[in-house]
Amino acid sequence: MKKITTLLILAITLFTCNEDNTIISPKVNFTFNHHWNNAEINNDNLQTTTVTNANGEAINIDRFRYLTSRFELTNTNNETYTFDGYKFTDLAIADTYNFSPENNAIPSGTYTLKFVWGFNETDNIDGAYPDLNTASWNWPEMLGGGYHFLQFDGMYNVDTTDASPFNFHNGTARVSEGVFEQNFAEIAFETPILINSDTVINIDMNIAELFTNPNIWDLNVLDTPLMPNYDAQKMMQQNIMSIFNLGEITQ
């Protein structure tokens, strides 16, 4: 009995001490903004804006949805905070531009940000995520299964009488029948982010970069189908590396 009491007192003291020492943990949220070079693209103008890619084709966008995951902040002590969940963005739905991870409180500090384009191999499990299944976001089993990383549908050459559809879809790459290669990308920013109160990290996506760097994309050659095209999938993976920039950090 005496022992228990002692333990209890100890526990209470510890608990209280702990509480006393706690510094407020800032919460981190993310907002994605989308551009075509300098023009903002959002749910209002997605289907009404005509843009021109690096190869010179005039384009109308029909649908633009993409997946990002494994948001990680690493501080100067090399401690990494990985946020739960993934972000499924649909440019037609403004709500999906924001991402508030479930447990998003981290200690104050200076951090760098990293996230994954799509799902890495550990996460890209066929059929495992009910919300993504419900959005029909799946990538066919014959192409390695799992999920789409990007669905970008539209029309090109819309300034000619010969406008044609393109389906720029990205996911696991199929090398040959039954042989697949991961195709996600790790997006890392070197710019330090100072976090000492609740913070919104803005990330800018320049959609035009999908068609620009390092591969100037010629839609006249590569419009659709691209999902089963290994080379196209790998070129997308390369081009994706430069579409994101770190935007404003607001506290």
Binding site: G127, T134, D153
Partner: protein, 357 residues
Amino acid sequence: MKNWFIFTLFVVIISGCSSETTTQEEDYIPIPYQLEIPTLFAEKLIDPRIPINNKLTVEGVTLGKRLFFDNILSVDGTKACASCHLPQNAFSDPNQFSQGVTTTLGTRNSMPLFNLAWNFDDKYFWDGHALGLENQALEPVIDTNELGNDSWEPVEAKLNNHEQYPKLFEQAFGTSVITKQLVAKAIAQFERTLISGNSKFDKFSNGEIALTPQEQNGLNIFMSEDKGDCFHCHGNPNNPLWTDNQFHNNGLDATFSDLGLGLISGNPNDNGKFRSPSLRNLAYTAPYMHDGRFATLEEVIEHYSTGLQDSDTIDTLMKKVNQGGVQLTTEDKADLKAFLLTLSDPTFINNPDFIQQ
């Protein structure tokens, strides 16, 4: 001893009285209804959408079923919801256009009713104009060419004067005053129980049976971007709804006599768009498309293969429109059809819970 006896008797009588009042009047508590969610749905999909102000109860569902089949909702006592939504047709109508209380036919094909609680945007009709099943159910009763009433009042009056309905509403909703809102709630409850998740393909997904090589090849055509490419709009093995419930123009017409979603949104970009139907139960739901223009699945497949019509709003997933379509071989077409038929669920159309007893 005697006093004690009388006292006990007194208590028993009082509690007897009071329990009688609670069960038969104000405080009747309806029994919560447990939806039977197929394991595949539970595993693959987010939870069904049940409005918080219309939870399913055993009494509510039973009442909704009775109303669904009852001609009392029509102006002349000749038609019910079930006249155009026949259980043996997965709750659709084998006629291209349905006949209501008048001889004037509508312009759209009746829609099958199943898995409605998984329509997460909650938009109903081919053009999505009704938000919520409860709101949807208000319309047919006062549609001139469907159940034909000028307003809900005479229907409410008939139900309120009926010898059984007031009691059934009392049990389901705790009030015997019948309103159109309660009628709609009861019907919506019944509709949400119409779950179809036991097709041959479901059994295949559950590892219970195998597909034939032909059906398997049909699935591959459905899932291949360079062949059928149906899965971007009509679900896939991990989305057993077999629809995205979104609005698309799938290339039926070059010009539109029915603007579909465009009429509702007022946005010309939406002209000619209709909600993708589920591909479950196609064996029972002919004819096909919003206007029932195709009598057979062969015609539907031929449409996607060679019959696409270009227009400003045609979906960019109809990518081979310049060649007329995805150009399937004769064998591929037959295999695709064989696969589509594996999505039909005979236990759904024969479920005694869904058929009028």
